[in-house]
């Protein structure tokens, strides 16, 4: 019997542990994870491949995190079944752990499109440290020279940079017409594509991989890919980096309500009493589109986990919502994208743009009723947080709208009332 049982030990699980311990220093906490590496930073796995981060650096909490928080960590074991009446979680071994409050923080699993040849040796997904270790080891063992990365989104770009740093020739294959299409509009994407190509990466857009090919004389080993328009790319590795989908396996078939992800309210509660969900597996509130959706993002998972943790421990806390928001560091071109990046023509929306292509700078703001609902910043991101503050608090920016994109925009451009509210001035 554990007072709190948390399935999943990544961002949402960690956030929940920390929140529970702020309210309840003694209630028993059990964390179950099928991974064997504890509390590591998932976004840092590309740095592990590139060699920039070792196993010590990738640990995003203290070495003694479980001990310090008095957590019973069940590592390397998979939770396979829920019994909501009995209030137990069953492990693969058959062992049952009963709970008073349960958090489902099972995260996401890589989306892998059905592709002929995907069982070949040399095909990898890219979401866990295990994936990163296997890829790094493979590069060394076969002295890999070339890789195809399927997916030109955030994950695809991150693994591409790591592989380039390891000296591989990389081809990105992106189904959409532009890379990073969820984060940037065409102009922003073009800047990044130019930079990525300059680093020696081959970018193929508007196509996907129809077949993974074997090596001549050794069909079980990756030798290349066949693209949908008929051309071939030779490679030693194929990385599936399209994205993640909610990892709902544990709850499928139970009474817990699932849409795309697990449905939760603003306390991160599911439809079942005492059962909560957070992170990539949950559909939490997006304050820009004003509805719940899956958003597989580390900072939001921590925040949602915290909200669940507080509520599980009896401190009522409401989730204020997140939105699609990412910052990127790859290929030396910093990017921030928050909210609506590339909205369709809409008379309700106003768009302001500032560009300086010579310096790879592109800034774009989207407004609805004089409130910021979209922020895109390429290679000029240092004031992003101020803009996000205005967005998150739905502040009417009509009076200083034109200043928001100026090169020297700062808190000094904002009303004294706001400066005082934020205790910036007396």
């Amino acid at each position: 019997m554990s007072k709190y049982v948390i399935v999943g030990a990544s961002a949402a699980g960690l956030g929940a542990v920390e929140a529970i311990r702020k309210v309840d220093p003694t209630g028993t906490i059990t964390v179950i994870t099928d991974e064997t590496c504890a509390h590591y930073s998932r976004p840092m796995i590309s740095d592990f491949i590139s060699g920039k981060a070792d196993m010590k650096k990738i640990n995003c909490r203290t070495e003694e995190f479980w001990k310090e928080n008095n957590v019973e960590a069940v590592m390397g074991k998979k939770a396979t079944a829920l019994n909501l009446t009995e209030k137990t979680v069953q492990l693969e071994s058959g062992e049952k752990i009963s709970y008073e409050k349960l958090l489902l923080a099972t995260g996401g699993k890589p989306f892998v499109p059905k592709t002929e040849g995907s069982e070949k040796d040399g095909v990898f997904t890219f979401t866990t440290i295990g994936d990163a270790q296997r890829i790094a080891a493979k590069i060394d063992t076969i002295n890999a020279k070339a890789a195809v990365v399927i997916g030109g989104g955030l994950i695809g770009i991150s693994v591409t940079e790591a592989l380039v740093k390891r000296g591989l020739k990389v081809t990105i294959v992106e189904l959409q017409d532009k890379i990073l299409s969820l984060l940037l509009d065409a102009k922003g994407s073009d800047i990044v594509e130019t930079v990525v190509k300059k680093a020696g990466v081959n970018v193929v857009t508007g196509q996907s991989v129809q077949k993974i090919l074997g090596k001549p004389g050794n069909d079980g080993v990756v030798g290349g890919v066949l693209l949908t328009k008929g051309s071939q790319v030779a490679c030693d590795l194929v990385i599936m980096a399209i994205g993640v989908i909610p990892r709902t396996d544990l709850v499928v078939g139970s009474a817990v309500k699932i849409n795309r992800g697990i449905v939760v309210d603003n306390l991160m509660q599911t439809n079942i009493p005492d059962v909560y969900a957070s992170g990539d597996v949950a559909e939490a509130y997006d304050f820009i589109i004003n509805q719940n959706r899956t958003l597989p993002l580390w900072p939001l998972a921590i925040l949602e986990g915290q909200v669940a943790g507080y509520n599980m421990a009896g401190k009522t806390t409401t989730y204020g919502g997140g939105t699609n928001m990412s910052s990127l560091k790859y290929f030396g071109i910093p990017i921030v994208s928050i909210g609506l990046a590339n909205p369709k023509e809409d008379p309700m929306l106003e768009v302001l743009v500032k560009q300086d292509f010579e310096h790879n700078i592109y800034k774009k703001l989207v407004f609805r009723n004089n409130v910021i609902v979209g922020i895109t910043l390429v290679n000029s991101i240092e004031r992003a947080g101020i803009l996000f503050y205005l967005m998150k608090n739905a502040i009417n920016v009509k009076k200083f709208k034109q200043e928001l994109l100026s090169d020297d925009f700062s808190w000094a451009n904002l009303p004294v009332g706001l400066q005082k509210k934020m205790s910036l001035v007396q």
Binding site: P43, K57, L303, M325, K329, I338, G385, A412
Partner: protein, 148 residues
Amino acid sequence: MVKRIIAKQEVCIGCGLCEVYCTVQHSKSKDIVKAYNSERPKPISRVTVERNKPVSFAIQCRHCEDAPCVTACLSGAMQKDEKTGQVTHNKEKCMGCWTCIMICPYGAIKMDIEGHVVTKCDLCQGFDEPACVANCPNQALVFKEVKP
């Protein structure tokens, strides 16, 4: 209660000396000429003078009670020290992902591009007063306890 640096906008003349002293304080050499001309990675001022003539005032990390940068940090580099109330940044752990920059409502976190990390005000650990406060010619910066 943690002491914070508060700007007196009405007496700030926007001279930028706070930035200069902060840069030197956080340089390896502690020498103004070397700090600005030769040191690599280039020392960075953790305080910024926000200017919109005639208004100016300095901003640095507010060491928030419920710090969004700590929650959002992907690497665990940004931490809240429960004892001192300060938000600390561990450069060794930082992965330079810029998430804290995206999330800080004050725009108080700076990019150390050469170091591939961020940097921010540490309230000049080990000194009675932060360098920006001690060296402001107009006493436009005050170091005092304020309500979070």
